[in-house]
Amino acid sequence: MIEIDNISKKYGTFQVLRDCSTSVAKGEVVVICGPSGSGKSTLIQCVNGLEPVQQGRITVDGMNVTDKKTNLTQLRARIGMVFQHFELYPHMNVLENLCLAQEKVLNRTRSEAVAKAEALIERVGLSDHIHKHPGQLSGGQQQRVAIARSLAMDPIAMLFDEPTSALDPEMINEVLDVMVQLATDGMTMMVVTHEMGFARKVADRVVFMDEGRIVEDRKTEDFFSDPESPRLRDFLSKILQY
């Protein structure tokens, strides 16, 4: 489904990504972790072309993201993305947030869009809040709305860019629950996160990045039980200590 082939990227003279290759098969859940500044967020933003790459190739469902001729707008409509800071539209209520792209991009009628929005808002457990504005919701609720907004487009894959990093601790689980449900339903997912409990529970593979390189790309059990590189061992010992 997602093929990342030897991509490299620089911001000025700073090399953010170096020869990164990995893939996500249909229905697979891949977690990407690593210290801050390791390039994991940049990597995931390259997958739907939000960040351009200078070298290498990314294809999603057969479409070449890195080819300049590809219609990125069309491609992005098929890939969902969830951001660290939710990025709900603050001037629209929850329902409008979910309907905008459905109507403008997928050309659904108002009633189709509303029906879809209501179903998804119910699925993330926020039916009582559908007419509220994002500012009236907690962080966890906002992120669940953001997930529903992406799902409203019937995406073929979902990208999560640190979806719980900006949340208060007691709200992390409600968001992870929605993501676990999504994974068990068979959604293809690429998730940048530090939530190792989530990775253990639903990830098929875990990718560890450091200084712009993919250091390890392993099956989930092996990743935790048998880390090969000293860098990963060091990282795991630090984050799994408590």
């Binding site: 939000l50 992005r76 098929r78 993305m81 990025e87 905008l100 792209a101 991009v105």
Partner: protein
């Protein structure tokens, strides 16, 4: 207060009202035109096309560096040359105001647009919305909300600036007051009255700004 005769104002009211209507009309049309052209200038200046943003930046800096009265003159003499026929004082003044205000509005809007988080654009892009739809539905509504107080302030200045149209022989409120003042020989009364009228209108505008500011802040 002997020697003052305010009755002259009453008899001149219809004449003054005509002038005030012209002032309002120019202000409103210039705001609408200025906003429309200003949005385009702001988007052009912030666009990735170097040439486009350079042209927009040059225009804005040029217009903002000359006095409004000179711009009004320019267009009075320039527009007939371009169109090949005279368009009259009103239209040339209106075009001048639109072009002039657009330069200021575009800077206000550029600040407003920049105040909208970059992530909002990314969120729009990630759902497959194109550039114009992102601007129209996501960025501009938020930007406008942030910049309404500054825009109203600029509109108040514009209203006062319409008094400059006397240079192209248009009769706005200020010009009408001057005419009455001179023909009736009642300079003090008329200029006092004109000041009161400007004050009432502009102060009401300022109060609106203050109310809007507290509304935007919440």
């Amino acid at each position: 207060m002997s020697g003052f005769d305010f009755s002259v104002i009453v008899s001149a009211l219809p004449f003054l009202w005509e002038g005030l209507q012209l002032s309002f009309l120019l202000t409103i049309l210039a705001i609408i035109g200025g906003l429309g052209f200003g949005v385009l200038l702001a988007l052009a200046r912030m666009s990735g096309f170097r040439l486009l943003s350079l042209v927009a930046a040059t225009y804005v800096n040029l217009i903002r560096s000359v006095p409004l009265i000179l711009v009004i003159f320019w267009f009075y003499f320039l527009v007939p040359l371009v169109l090949g026929r005279p368009v009259g004082g009103f239209y040339s003044a209106l075009i001048a105001f639109v072009m002039f205000e657009a330069a200021y509005y575009s800077e206000i809007m550029r600040a407003g647009i920049k105040s909208v988080a970059k992530g909002q654009v990314q969120a729009g892009k990630s759902t497959g919305l194109g550039y114009w739809r992102i601007q129209r539905h996501i960025v501009l509504p938020q930007a406008f909300r942030n910049m309404i107080p500054v825009l109203v302030t600029q509109a108040i200045i514009l209203f006062q600036d319409t008094s400059l149209v006397f240079v192209v022989s248009l009769r706005d409120f200020m010009t009408a007051s001057s005419i009455v003042a001179r023909t009736e020989g009642r300079l003090v009364e008329m200029y006092l009255f004109a000041a009161v009228v400007y004050f009432v209108i502009c102060f009401a505008g300022s109060l609106t700004v203050r109310r809007l500011q507290s509304k935007v802040a919440t």
